[in-house]
């Protein structure tokens, strides 16, 4: 398979995942924040959404204040925010276009159809009506894309690159989601400490609210939520699950068996995964959740770079 195609598939999956995750976060939080006490300052209510997207700096270039209008515009539509949902879908489509000969016709038609459907939305209407319809379309659009992909594309190297890219992005997004909310939790009481609602929103935005209750049979506690999102072996949006999938994808490409590695990306993935398997949430909190997630995000970034170096942009010795 051509390096360029592998690269495009990897990023196609990343952009789709980022669009979905952002849509989930925006949708859930928007509706929760509507119910929230208005005594909380805007900053506390809306800022974490920008942090989750990892786009605080860029946001501040455009807006003085994070509120319902600016956050929706920024996260959902803004063409000059490369992480906005509409930009993610547009770039996913561009990547799909550049590998149209490789992917199935149905995959292309599906992603192209989603792109055109989203283009019919505009910020003005959405801010008024709430982002639910838009976000729902994205969410189910991406689900459908996964379904069409799994059902029509041979599960060969290309499919593995889609898998690795999508789950690497998901691991990062979940890490940022937990991190942003956790920092929020540390705000001293009196300023308007966040309550369980926010953690409920976190669970909802990864679709784990019901699963949490089945698992813990207890009221919502921040530590248990973090445990579920970081360490759960089977929840499809937990970091551990996601990194396991990245590893499986990379190993399928290189043909490496358990307990060894063929390249730097695989070594690092294995190392991160060992931690996720054997660390307890108590240990993680003792070490500090923020530094822990910070390291994890750094590892994810390095894994992405190593994948690119190994498969996409390796030096050719002529």
């Amino acid at each position: 398979m051509l390096s360029r195609i592998a690269d495009s598939l990897f990023w196609l999956a990343r952009y789709m995942e980022r669009a979905e995750d952002t849509a989930r976060i925006l949708d859930v939080n928007y509706h929760m924040l509507l119910e929230e006490s208005r005594r909380q300052p805007y900053r506390l209510r809306w800022e974490p959404l920008i942090v989750m997207a990892g786009e605080e700096q860029r946001f501040r270039q455009f807006y003085a204040e994070a509120n319902a209008t600016t956050v929706i515009e920024f996260l959902a539509f803004r063409p000059d925010n490369p992480s906005s949902i509409s930009q993610c879908i547009a770039k996913a489509r561009e990547n799909a276009r550049s590998v149209r000969d490789y992917i199935s016709r149905e995959m292309w038609e599906d992603i192209n159809g989603l792109y055109h459907a989203l283009n019919r939305f505009g910020p003005a209407e959405e801010v008024g009506a709430g982002p639910h319809r838009f976000c729902n379309l994205v969410r189910f659009g991406v689900h459908r894309f996964h379904g069409v992909t799994d059902g029509t594309l041979p599960h060969d190297d290309g499919w593995q690159f889609l898998r690795a890219g999508g789950f690497l992005e998901r691991a990062e997004m979940t890490a940022r989601l937990v991190d942003a909310q956790y920092q929020n939790l540390l705000v001293p009481p009196g300023v308007g400490a966040p309550d369980n609602h926010q953690w409920m929103a976190v669970l909802r935005s990864v679709g784990a609210y019901e699963a949490y209750h089945r698992q813990y049979h207890s009221p919502i506690e921040p530590e248990r939520v973090a445990e579920m999102l970081i360490l759960h072996p089977l929840h499809p949006r937990s970091i551990r699950f996601s990194v396991t999938e990245v590893q499986a994808g990379l190993r399928a490409v290189s043909g490496t068996g358990a307990g060894s590695y063929a390249n730097e990306a695989e070594r690092l993935t294995g190392k991160v995964l060992e931690g996720l398997r054997y660390d307890t949430i108590e240990e993680i909190f003792k070490r500090g959740l923020h530094p822990y997630l910070h390291d994890l995000l750094r590892s994810c970034r390095l894994i992405g770079e190593d994948i690119a170096r190994t498969y996409f942009f390796y030096a050719v010795v002529a």
């Binding site: 398979m1 390096s3 360029r4 561009e94 149209r100 000969d101 159809g113 390796y314 050719v316």
Partner: protein
């Protein structure tokens, strides 16, 4: 205005339909369909415009989903908007007997063009025997000195040709308007148009026997695999595209996918030791045959345009060393030159000893003093074309042009007569086409681009080809950049 006889009075879609003195592909006289169009006409006549409109929207959605769009950029708009390449649902139908003659004429022409290219870049018999001036050929913009003496695989230069035909309204005869043997595009529209047409008007196909077109990719693939420089081994084939921003990118994907060959960009390829390789996730893989959709001058920055990023440094070296086959061959643009076009009937006589079955449009070559004088005296009646251009660029439509434009062309022609030819205005035939603004059908001018494949022994012509239609009322320009669209083109099986 004379009143039409009652049986010719038509309502619904055809209300107010007029022939306006042009050859109409559907009607021999007002309200009188030609035999091969009779069933289509009666079907359409029975349809309410709203029903037709429904089918049309069905087609539009299909094209939009497929992403068969081209991007239009306008001032102050960074991203550009995507437009559909308009598709008109009323097919262009050719009876078998008529097609049979066209097909034989095309086969003859393609064979002669290939022999001419072999000769020009080989023994140059035609110059030595004084049948055409060497200077005329060597001065073609797309003549490639680098190709002289290069032995191409199996002697094939024109693997793929798109020969543009028009029907002259005065005589009803098909004439050759131009030859495209560099990288003709549009075949994907032929195949997609047919697919969409069968979905939108399935019932029409039940009443006609239409020759299929979808064997094209398989035939092309067969040719590509027969010209590998490593016979006996499974050939590695690739289609080289300029990339996603090229207006024909859809077609490049489409063909690569249909043939099951790799779609590559210049940056995917690397030349080492006169061999071409592609970069894969498992290292370098040798490439044997490249169907390139990149023009000659962008193929190799070491030989042609040094600033080109679309090509591959060293590709020409590998090609000349015979380690990779390029399709079409390099240097074919000589034939596309409109001053050379005028000589093609002579090539047919010279190389094949046959009379051309398809005639050229009468052409005045300004490089000839007698022709030049005539052209300069008759500019307002003529179509003037720059010899090296295509796609409707660098053209003067005498009857439609104002004085200043005509004078501007006069200056240009006088300065560089070699660069121009002129032809009389051909009243192109028309086909009824739907006009969305009025919800009615009106006659619109069409041309026809059949696609020919040459395997070294035989010319395979896809039945029909691409009918391009000038959708603007009165327009004779069928190019998509000028508001042109396309139609499904049917060749009927014998007997119809």
């Amino acid at each position: 205005m004379p009143s039409a006889p009652p049986e010719a009075a038509v309502y619904g879609l055809f209300e107010g339909y007029a022939l306006d003195g042009f050859y109409d592909e559907m009607f021999s006289a007002p309200g009188k369909p030609r035999p091969h169009y009779a069933k289509i006409f009666s079907k359409l006549r029975a349809m309410a415009p709203s029903q037709f409109e429904e089918r049309r929207q069905l087609a539009d959605v299909a094209f939009l989903l497929q992403g068969i769009t081209f991007t239009v950029y306008s001032e102050g708009e960074g991203s550009g908007t995507e437009r559909l390449f308009p598709f008109d649902l009323i097919p262009r139908v050719l009876p078998h007997t008529e097609w049979d003659r066209i097909e034989r004429g095309l086969a003859q022409r393609v064979a002669a063009l290939n022999l001419f290219l072999q000769d020009v870049y080989g023994q140059q018999r035609i110059f030595k025997e004084g049948r055409i001036a060497r200077s005329l050929v060597y001065s073609c913009q797309h003549f490639r000195r680098e190709m002289i003496g290069v032995q191409v695989q199996r002697g094939i230069h024109t693997h793929i040709s798109g020969i543009d035909l028009v029907r002259d309204s005065r005589t009803g005869e098909f004439l050759v308007l131009e030859d495209n043997v560099r990288t003709p595009s549009g075949i994907s529209y032929v195949l997609e148009n047919r697919l969409v047409m069968t979905r939108c008007f399935p019932e029409l196909f039940q009443t006609y026997e239409v020759l299929p077109v979808n064997h094209y990719p398989a035939e092309l693939c067969k040719i590509l695999s027969s010209i590998s420089p490593r016979p006996g081994e499974v050939p590695q084939m690739a289609l080289l595209t300029p990339g996603v921003h090229n207006s024909a990118y859809f077609e490049h994907c489409f063909l690569a996918q249909q043939m099951g060959i790799e779609l590559v960009e210049g940056r995917d390829l690397i030349v080492d030791g006169d061999m071409v390789y592609m970069k894969t996730i498992r290292g370098l893989t040798r490439v044997d045959v490249i169907y390139r959709r990149v023009d000659d001058e962008f193929l190799d920055p070491l030989v042609f345009r040094p600033e080109s990023l679309l090509g591959v440094p060293g590709l020409m070296g590998a090609y000349r060393a015979g380690n990779v086959t390029l399709v079409n061959a390099v240097g074919n643009g000589v034939v596309d030159d409109k001053a050379i076009y005028a000589h093609v009937p002579d090539f047919i006589r010279y190389y094949l000893g046959e009379e051309p079955m398809l005639r050229n449009v009468d052409t005045y070559v300004c490089a000839r003093p007698g022709d030049l004088k005539y052209v300069l005296e008759h500019l307002p009646e003529l179509v003037v074309k720059a010899v090296g251009e295509s796609g409707g660029y660098g053209m003067l439509m005498g009857p439609a042009a104002d004085r200043a434009t005509i004078e501007e062309f006069r200056r240009r022609i006088e300065a560089q007569p070699r660069n121009y030819i002129a032809q009389p205005v051909i009243g192109l035939s028309r086909v009824p086409s739907y006009h969305p603004a009025t919800g009615r059908v009106a006659g619109r001018h069409v041309d026809l681009r059949p696609y020919c494949l040459y395997d070294g022994d035989r010319v395979i012509v896809v039945p029909g080809g691409l009918t391009r239609v000038a959708l603007q009322p009165g327009s004779l320009v069928v190019n998509s950049s000028q508001g042109g669209g396309s139609k499904d083109t049917w060749v009927l099986r014998g007997g119809d």
